[in-house]
């Protein structure tokens, strides 16, 4: 079991390293930070000084090794724009993002999963059809369209809610709604099909043949089995807590990680972009580890160090 955990961790670190290396190379091949930071009309000596200051003259592999060495000592570099440590800029923005994504995730779970269960238990009822239609609507409509439509209705036409900015809880309502509607649909759809699959299994018939009341059949026998696929989706959503708000933050001018990454990429602020990607990769990998752990808790067949027969 310990060996298994260590192996998982090693693989997680490797994933992060790969993401970092990929980001490092792509960023450096996609445009010269000196040109972008200083503008097209900057004098040559200013450009040269800038390049020397940030080590952009060294061969790529030297820059890469230097970067790795830096990372090892938990030094994530200095923002070219603000001259402050990149990690501070990133950490500053995380609470704002989480203030949107965590309530949105809770809404997705609290509404999506029960709706999916209800739909599965009342197949082909009006409620079931309603859930399916809402789900299709939720995940086919892009969030930038949905966000703008919500702004148009609730901010522009009705004037009930602010259209953008961050100046109190009411500013968070439209972004959270925009983010959660699609996710509720996905959760409902996913839960519904997981439940329908489980309800068709022979062990459900066994549980009914025992004389268990239907409610207990659903709660004790169907739900624990349906939880495995749902947890997979949940893991994915948890992993996206930090990275999942780029579009919505831009629409609503919300000062979170999403906004920061858009601005930093535009400016080729290498250290900041790399730092954000590192945080995102780390959160995804963590979520994956949690999912793996949850699998073992939920399904004994997926427990490791457990020989079958």
């Amino acid at each position: 079991m310990l060996k298994f955990t260590l192996a998982k961790l090693a693989r997680a670190l490797l994933t992060i390293l790969l993401v970092m290396s990929f980001a490092f190379i792509v960023l450096r091949l996609s445009g010269d930070p000196a040109q972008i930071m200083l503008g097209p009309d900057a004098p040559q000596d200013a450009v040269d000084a800038f390049r020397a200051r940030w080590g952009l003259d060294d061969p790529l592999w030297q820059q890469y090794l230097a970067y790795l060495k830096q990372i090892m000592t938990f030094d994530f570099g200095i923002s070219m724009r603000d001259q402050s440590p990149a990690i501070d800029l990133v950490l500053d923005r995380i609470p704002a993002t989480l203030a949107l994504t965590i309530p949105a995730l809770l809404l997705k779970i609290a509404i999506g999963i029960p709706a999916g269960i209800y739909a599965a238990l009342h197949r082909e009822s009006i409620a079931d059809r309603g859930v399916i239609m809402f789900a299709i609507f939720g995940f086919t409509i892009p969030s930038f369209v949905l966000g703008l439509v919500l702004v148009l209705i609730f901010a522009v036409t009705l004037g009930w809610l602010p259209a953008g900015g961050q100046d109190g809880w009411e500013y968070a309502i439209l972004p959270i709604a925009t983010m959660s509607i699609g996710g509720i649909g996905i959760f409902a759809r996913f839960t519904r099909s997981a439940m329908i699959e489980v309800l068709g299994q022979p062990y459900i018939r066994t549980a009914m043949a025992k004389g268990l009341p239907w409610r207990e059949v659903v709660w004790k026998h169907a739900l624990p089995n349906a939880a495995v696929p749902i947890v997979t989706l949940l893991g994915f959503m948890v992993g996206a807590l930090i990275a999942g708000a780029v579009v919505v933050e831009s629409i609503f001018s919300w000062p979170g990680i999403g906004r920061l990454i858009v601005v930093s990429v535009a400016n080729r602020d290498l250290a900041v972009v790399q730092c954000i990607l590192l945080v995102i990769a780390a959160s995804m990998v963590m979520a994956n580890l949690l999912v793996d752990f949850a699998y073992g808790v939920l399904d004994p067949r997926l427990r490791h160090g457990h020989a079958a027969h």
Binding site: K3, F4, A7, K8, R11, A307, H309
Partner: protein, 325 residues
């Protein structure tokens, strides 16, 4: 009868349970098998799950290479999989297995399924191909008007006929049938069994018939080999094996088939679990479930050898176990 296929010292093992850090354990599916398939016979291979009978079937067809040992087909070594010589042999040997629906392409009509091997092996084209397909459809007892049907429009027995017709398209000399009738209902099972026997009689096909259903094996096979945990424990003519089984395992197996009107009396009920190839007992693999076993049996693996003119692998046959008849 001359030997069509000979297996010598066949061993096949698979790695199981790969742990992340690269440690693997191996499991022997086939553990030292010598077997001759004679031209024109139907050889039955019986055994419970985990006995390695399906693996043996795939080895005999050359679909996988053995870990050790060799297979001679018409006296020549079986070529390595996916070589030119191997591909040429494919037309001559075919596999028919249990689930006909998964063996068929559900988007192709019956005639397209049957005609496919003709194309692959470049055997017939155009009107000649259509003629050949019609002939095969007739041969397996399908109606000509079913040529345009899709697999899902057919019953289980009809599907298995399509699979057999397709297998026959390339004029094979050797068929391995792996549980070909196990998924079929009794009345349909009889139809397919009779069809296979007709093919043997009329076309002189050689077959290996793998099944856990002893009644069907009894009916269709000339000779039978009984497998237990990757080894053959008894081999005899079908008549001899079923009327007078020698090996304690064969006796229990034959006795376990419920006989109409005989009740449960006098049946040998084996205790214990079916064999697990991942945890092979020492010595004779059957010894933990055998009521005749002693310390010797747990220590030495018995060889398949002649006792009173019969091939069996049991140390007890010489003294303790006298022939029943």
């Amino acid at each position: 009868m001359s030997a069509l296929l000979q297996a010598k010292g066949l061993i096949q093992q698979y790695s199981t349970a790969k742990t992340f850090l690269g440690k693997t354990s191996t499991m022997r599916a086939v553990d030292g098998i010598n077997l001759t398939v004679r031209e024109g016979e139907i050889l039955g291979i019986v055994g419970e799950s985990g006995s390695g009978k399906s693996t043996l079937g795939r080895l005999l067809l050359g679909l996988e290479s053995p870990f050790k040992g060799k297979i001679l087909y018409r006296g020549h070594p079986m070529p390595e999989p996916r070589t030119a010589a191997w591909r040429k042999l494919r037309a001559e040997m075919q596999l028919i297995f249990q689930d006909p629906l998964s063996a068929l392409d559900r988007r192709l009509t019956v005639s397209a399924q049957i005609g496919e091997p003709l194309e692959i092996h470049g055997l017939a084209a155009g009107s000649e191909r259509a003629e050949r397909v019609a002939e095969l459809i007739a041969k397996v007892g399908l109606r000509q008007d079913q040529a345009g049907s899709y697999p899902h429009e057919l019953s289980g027995g009809q599907r298995q006929r399509v699979v057999i017709a397709r297998a026959l398209a390339s004029n094979p000399r050797f068929l391995v049938c792996d549980e070909p009738v196990s998924a079929l209902d009794v009345s349909i099972q009889a139809q397919v069994v009779n069809l296979l026997r007709d093919l043997q009689d009329r076309e002189g096909l050689t077959m290996v018939f793998i099944s856990h259903d002893l009644k069907v094996v009894r009916n269709i096979c000339d000779r039978v080999a009984v497998m237990y945990l990757g080894r053959i424990v008894e081999e005899a003519s079908s008549d001899a094996l079923f009327s007078d089984p020698r090996h304690p395992y064969t006796r229990a197996l034959v006795s376990s088939v419920p006989k109409i009107g005989a009740g449960l009396h006098g049946r040998i009920i084996l205790q214990g679990e079916p064999p697990n190839p991942a945890a092979r007992p020492s010595g004779c693999a059957f010894h933990p479930r055998c009521r005749f076993a002693d310390a010797d049996c747990a220590a030495t693996i018995p060889e398949l050898e002649r006792h009173d003119g019969r091939l069996a692998a049991c140390r007890k046959l010489r003294h303790t176990l006298r022939p029943a008849a």
